[in-house]
């Protein structure tokens, strides 16, 4: 084959093949991806990020945060936990059943299991073994359920509850999955660290918040101002090592606040059909209607939490 045109065609064919494989096929497979429902709650997921968080995505892009932070949590498999929900009406029979499935040395240890339910009795089983154990435990009104628990080093580290999936990035553009973990994974940082003010303090002085952090400070996203009459309500409450001299305050710029809003909005933990996990039934504190646990700085952020 000594002819240019044939060589051209050969190369074109080779590239076209990979284009069909790695560009067109994923586009057919994922390009029309729609919102999905959480399982089993049936809530629509994902909701678009609120506008301010979307502005923060641009700050994240412009300053290249993705060169040090990945947004992809890996998962090596799924295991099942058997959780005892209700003790039923016949504790001695239940204890006997527990001793059948759990290798415990004495009845008193098994009795300890019955306090403070619901409580995991067995962990890290396969689906069949877990189902069988749950069946054995369901004696005389006692209730045991099987929880699906994703496994893997990233999840054990507490970075996320499940692996990240394509749905998590449905409304982001650009999608920045990151390639290195010079810093921790951020796919789920909004659940781990839901306080936007913590993120602002951390961005301004990383080492004051995380001992031994290698993150550079992002002072250029903040303004150092002389306090004129009263302290700005936005001013950071910094620990003494990072605080400015008396009479001055550190105020986040719009960019910094948007970035913090974006970080808080990173919450890829909804249970989905493609990435199943069991989440405990919501425990609503009596007498209030408040969403559990979130101290988000703005109203917008709270609306973005996926249903749990």
């Amino acid at each position: 084959m000594n002819y240019g045109p044939l060589l051209f065609l050969g190369a074109f064919f080779a590239l076209a093949a990979s284009w069909f494989g790695f560009v067109l096929t994923p586009q057919i497979q994922l390009g029309q991806l729609q919102q999905t429902n959480t399982v089993p709650a049936g809530v629509i997921y994902p909701l678009g990020r609120p506008g301010f968080a979307r502005e923060g995505l641009e700050v994240y892009r412009a300053n290249g945060c993705a060169y040090c932070h990945s947004q992809q949590v890996g998962q090596t498999g799924t295991t099942c936990n058997v959780v005892l929900d209700q003790p039923g009406t016949n504790p001695p029979a239940l204890i006997e059943a527990i001793l059948k499935v759990v290798p415990l040395e004495s009845q008193s240890r098994a009795r300890e299991l019955l306090t403070g339910l619901p409580k995991p009795v067995l962990e890290g089983l396969g689906k069949e073994a877990a189902d069988a154990a749950a069946k054995t435990l369901s004696v005389d009104g006692a209730k045991a359920s099987v929880w699906i628990v994703p496994a893997g080093p990233d999840i054990a580290r507490g970075w996320a509850k499940r692996r990240t999936v394509a749905e998590d990035f449905l409304f982001d553009s650009p999608v920045m999955l990151g390639a290195r973990r010079i810093g921790p994974d951020l796919a789920n940082v909004g659940v781990r660290l839901p306080d936007a003010r913590w993120h602002l303090r951390h961005l301004y002085a990383p080492r004051a918040e995380v001992k031994g952090s290698v993150m550079p400070p992002y002072g250029f996203l903040f303004e150092r101002r002389r306090i004129e009459r009263a302290r700005s309500p936005d001013a950071l409450d910094l620990p003494p090592v990072a605080a400015p001299e008396p009479g001055y305050e550190i105020v986040p710029t719009r960019e910094a606040r948007a970035l913090a809003a974006y970080l808080v909005s990173l919450q890829a933990d909804a249970p989905l059909f493609v990435a199943p996990l069991t989440v405990p039934a919501p425990v609503t504190p009596e007498g209030t209607n408040a969403a559990p646990g979130s101290a988000a700085a703005t109203n917008a952020l709270a609306t973005n939490s996926p249903a749990r």
Partner: protein
Amino acid sequence: MSAAPSSQPEPASPSAPVPAPLPDTLDVSARVPLLALFLSAAGWLLIGSVFALIASIKFHAPGFLAGSGWLTYGRIYPVSTNLFLYGFCVQAGLGVALWLLGRLGQTTLAQLWLVGVGGFLWNLGVIAGVLGVLDRASTGFEHLEMPGYAAMIMFLGYVLLALCGVLTFHQRKLRELYASQWFLFTALFWFPWIYSTANLLLVTFPVRGVVQSILDWWYSQNLQVVWLGLVGLAIVFYFIPKLSDRELHSRYLAVLVFWMLVLLGPWGGIPNSAPVPAWLPVASTISAVLLVTALIAVALNVYRTIGCVALAAPGNPSLSFTLFAVAAFIIAGLMRAFGGLLDSTQELQFTWFATARSQLHACGFFAMAVFGAVYWILPRIIGLEFPWPKLVRAHFWVAAVGITLLVLPLAIGGIVQALQLQKPNIPFTTIANTGLTFLRVSTIGDLLLLCGHLIFLGNLISLALKFYSVPARAAYMAATADLFKTVEAKS
């Protein structure tokens, strides 16, 4: 022409019939545009490695130059990689490719103005792109950070440069193709295809969701593995036989490598834990493992061509550079194959190991091959030897030690990090700091590489100065001034 090239008649293709002695005009005609391409490539290389060094120093002291936004790590790191890839690799690679296409086809470069204008546009695009990234206009896609307007200028510049290559290829006098021509001719087309696809589907009309990431990985893989591989291997397959004065062992092995690279190479680069359909990372791993056969074919071909003796003591600095490039190509390919294969917990891909692998491929393989080629080509097109040949040798040793000190600590550190990431009870800050210990050693490698690039630029400038101080300078300039005005202004 007063400055006659010192090139002896050389057979372009060892397996082809012995060609007639070359006319002097072949090398001489392209000297100014090629010198301009090589000089600006060397300049970008130096500037890029200054940025890389600053980025590396930030790990010693996170507060270093942290006050201003445009010097933050997330902006200067992509600037350093972009300057290296687009400022140096593509530009110098194209320069070498054009010269090789002319030499192997026994013809002069066609339409030289294309090289001048194309090179000018390409460099203009690189400047615009770098300023854009520094001013927060990065697209956010790795290796494709330069904003759309810069990409457009660069694309146009590339098309003009490649057009010169295609026309040169078309008017070749020696019709039979040598293996290197396969690689180079394909590389000319490959880049515009992938670059336009990636820019159109990521920047102009962005696709939705993680398809963006898949496209970005596809583009990076095509640029780094396929394009750099095609041009780098073309250099290897030309210069190894040429410099060791033997025939290429097997033309068919070289052609096999070519087909492996273009057929399998683009099916890679998607990491194991990516939130995409599982067949994509699987296909990537399979392609990386199958590419090991190409590595074996390259190793075999080079070894059989050159033999043990010359392998141990290469007489020519260009040969040392080329042999180092071959070794780096093979090791980087093995790291790619086995990194994907053994990474069952999906942690290794996020560590410094991946950085080490891509640095070895880009700096150890491609850049070294290009250095060797440029050190061979420039004296021939200019007709003068380098004023300080010892500095060429020195460049080799500084670069070789620098790359080793850059890659080895990062690779080991990455493996240590991956093992630690598997143990959830080790806090992440501990892991990050473990990685940093290794990274800090690699900063010495960065520093040495910077010195090497300084020597490279110095060698090129000294040769250019020597050339222009020749008395015939004025006459030559007068004859060609209107033709090369644009290029002259740049160099």
